[in-house]
Amino acid sequence: MTARSELLELAERIAGWARDGEQVEAYVARSRDTEVKVFDTDVESLSSAESEGVGVRVVVDGRQGFAYAGSLDPSVVEEVLGEARDNASFGTADEFNGLPVPDGVAAAQLDLYRDSLASFPTDEKVALAIQLDKATRAADARIRGLEATEYGDSIIESAVATSTGIRASNRRTVCSIYAEALAGEGTGTQTGYGYSVGRSADELDVDAAARDAAERATRLLGAKQPKSARVTILLEPRMTASLLGVLSSTLSGEAVLKGRSMFADRVGDDVSVPFVTLVDDPTDARAYGATPYDAEGLATRRNVLFDGGVLQGFLHNTYTGRRSASGSTGSAVRGGFKSTPGVGARALALDPGTKSLDELLAEVGDGLLVQSMQGLHSGVNPVSGDFSVGIEGLMVRGGALAEPVREATMASTLQRMLKDVVAVGGDVEWLPGGAAGVTLVLRDVTISGN
């Protein structure tokens, strides 16, 4: 018996304990994680462990309760169900509360698990991290050390079953390497990071990660604070992915229903420009957020959010789908077994354009290429749309990359930024996290500096 069906069996068993008039959902998860940290080409730490746990949701008379525990021990599981049951009596009755029922959408066949990662020897994980450290140091004479060099992997299994007929299980593997390089001396220090992600170790590109970290750190050496100005900016693909992540919170059915989305009444409106099409498609196996089932066990599906700049709709889980009468879009997400399902994007991507970065630079002429953003959690308000972040990057002059800048901010609003898109690059990068990256050009952004 595979471990996967073992989890599903446990989830089914718990769901089967539902009493009359009661709905029970069990979400069971297990992961095996390894993390190697290297410092000065020696192993600094090696952690290896398996974690598991269960979250139980109970709905009675429209009232919902939840409990979790970091253990699958039979006595603990029973205690968790008892707590969830007790907790249900303290929730507010709501006609839209209730567990999902199978909706007939077939789950995508996705190959997200690699046996080779499960059997990848620890020594080779350590060797990869050391190789990354050495390669980063060797990439440029101005690299004086690394702030972090890491290898990490996870083998993740989960299963969800409900007394309303949901049965779903899933497993996937992921591994990554990460280097953060320190360039220069003393106060002239600059940092840059590089990484590579894969479903198995043979997909990791050590040289590319090392080169990336070294280049990003060294090209900022000598960076100065720029003059305040309004400029055209080019967001590097990974910056665009971060921006899409913030934007997606405004497109959740939960934010819309609770009056926290600026897009609430705007379905059918032009919220962006005609060449901006934004899709969340967790059935696309190229996305690291890909999964056949959402966190409530419904099949994931391709959801178009913006089509030609026009807002098409929102993402929903079972609750928000019922309450808005539009049905779940298979977009339930959870922060592991410790939380109830929320709503979120997993695999956002902009339809790419055709131009390379060099072509975009030539087109822009004068502007600023942003390679890092700081303070997305503190300076961006997805409810009001205010957007203000610290940035580092390179000035663009005469269509070419010029002097580096730091200690600057870029500010606008999410609403304006969508309207100020000038171009979407053709350079799609599938990144860890919930969004793919692509170079994005925005005009008329306020840069604060000197």
Partner: protein, 462 residues
């Protein structure tokens, strides 16, 4: 939680491959929380996390494993895995004798949250919802969260240390959304304390709710924040996060040791304005970042980091202190038993100075007055940091005038510390969650009203 004899045998197992140091960290955490949003109590949640993390240090390498199985078999399996990860030659048998350390609690907990009926916790949410909505008709949405946790920890290590702590924390937070002609604005308030249910006698939920709602309503009148360099006055309590980011992280010995801090090699040097004295105080009674012992079993301390502008010391955990042959400072913390400890802040305070807070504002011709900050981040290697203002006003001709919309401020740690030119005689604290290297821990920061003579404000207005 675990018998002494078992701990001794597990530590011996952990040292079997030649480790220099072994440690068992066991944790039993129970938590409860309830969320009200959109006028409804969405659900009451109970959580239980119990397990142990075992680390073995050999030379410069740390091996780590964790388990949710606290039986002797479970602990030994984890000990073997940690020992294998810190692999060495044959180490032979080493006996460990444990000495229980007396732990002095910084304060008593009056009412354990687990003894309070769930309906009383849920009732707090309804009261907060009512209070926030009655603040103004423009308040359109309210979310309130009640959260308590009781975390019992045990640390035993091969140096013979055995210590336990029982940490009880309670927090209540409210977010409000107000709607006006210019769109939506939000307001947040959420003090946390390392105490039990008596929290609500000290901080009524109505007070928290009204503060959040009032902030959202106030921001409806906000004009775009300015863009460029301006003097910034930080209200007492609001600006502690500036120090957390501008220098706190840079004074963590792990980052210093990696040569990833602009403060490396600066002990004894003037790194800040002489008006600045900075302490990290894990003993501060009842505060959000307070504990009796850290997650390595060392007692919390009050550590002076900067005195009259001169850097006096960094913050230390076991590993970095051991490397330097000095004693740790009680700053070794971890999110849960599933993580390795590292150097973390507790309650980081700038001590009060002598200036009259009102006078500081009066003597500022044109600038920003920050009343609440929403968090920040720092690149410790370059010293560049940002923090977000969630409630701020213009200062014009020495008077506080219009509110301004949310924006980040950006600065460079060492430079900003030198530009502090006024420090008030008042003081307050602020509760937050500090994230570092994937781990979150409760911290607080605190400061008197003070002024930075120039910071870059990341707004959009000319």
């Amino acid at each position: 939680m675990i018998e002494e004899a078992v701990l001794q045998r597990v530590l011996s197992t952990a040292l079997r491959t030649g480790g220099d140091f072994a440690e068992v960290f066991a944790e039993d955490r129970r938590s409860s929380s309830a969320v009200l949003d959109d006028g409804r109590v969405e659900e009451f949640t109970s959580g239980r996390d119990r397990g142990a993390g075992i680390r073995v240090i050999r030379g410069d390498t740390t091996g780590f494993a964790h388990t949710a199985d606290l039986s002797e078999d479970g602990l030994r399996t984890a000990a073997e895995a940690a020992a294998a990860a810190a692999r060495g030659g044959g180490g032979g048998v080493r006996e460990v004798a444990l000495t229980r350390r007396d732990v002095t609690r910084p304060h008593d907990v009056d009412v354990l949250p687990e003894t309070v009926a769930k309906d009383r916790k849920v009732d707090l949410l309804r009261r907060a919802d009512d209070a926030a909505r009655s603040e103004a008709s423009s308040v359109r949405q309210v979310s309130a969260t009640y959260a308590d946790s009781r975390r019992r920890i045990l640390v035993a290590n091969s140096d013979g240390l055995l210590a336990e702590d029982d940490q009880v924390r309670t927090r209540f937070f409210v977010q409000a959304v107000a709607l006006g002609d210019t769109g939506m604005q939000t307001g947040f308030e959420g003090p946390g304390r390392t105490i039990g249910f008596e929290y609500f006698d000290e901080i009524p939920v109505e007070e928290t709710a009204k503060a959040a709602a009032g902030r959202a309503v106030n921001m409806l009148k906000a004009r775009p924040a300015p863009s460029g360099k301006l003097p910034v006055v930080l209200k007492k309590g609001a600006g502690g996060v500036l120090f957390h980011e501008a220098c706190g992280h840079g004074l963590e010995a792990d980052l210093v040791g990696r040569d990833a801090s602009v403060f490396r090699g600066k002990v004894g040097e003037q790194v800040a304005s002489p008006l600045v004295t900075l302490v990290d105080d894990g003993t501060y009674s009842r505060e959000w970042g307070t504990y009796a012992i850290d997650d390595e079993g060392n007692p919390a301390q009050r550590n002076t980091l900067i005195e009259n502008g001169v850097l006096t010391d960094y913050m230390w955990d076991h590993l970095r202190a051991r490397k330097e042959g000095r004693s740790p400072s009680g700053n070794g913390r971890r999110q849960t038993y599933q993580y390795l400890p590292m150097v973390r802040m507790t309650n980081t305070f700038v001590l009060a100075g002598e200036d009259d807070p009102d006078e500081i504002i009066r003597q500022t011709e044109y600038g920003i007055y920050c009343v609440q900050l929403g968090g920040g981040s720092v690149n410790t290697a370059t010293g560049d940091f940002v923090f977000g203002m969630t409630e701020a006003y213009m200062i014009e001709n020495g008077e506080i005038t219009d509110p301004v919309r949310a924006a980040n401020l950006i600065g460079n740690g060492p430079e900003t510390l030198r530009l502090i030119d006024a420090v008030g005689n008042d003081f307050d604290t602020w509760s937050g969650t500090c994230g570092k290297d994937g781990q979150s821990v409760p911290v607080s920061s605190g400061q008197p009203t003070l002024r930075v003579s120039a910071m870059t404000v990341g707004g959009t207005a000319a």
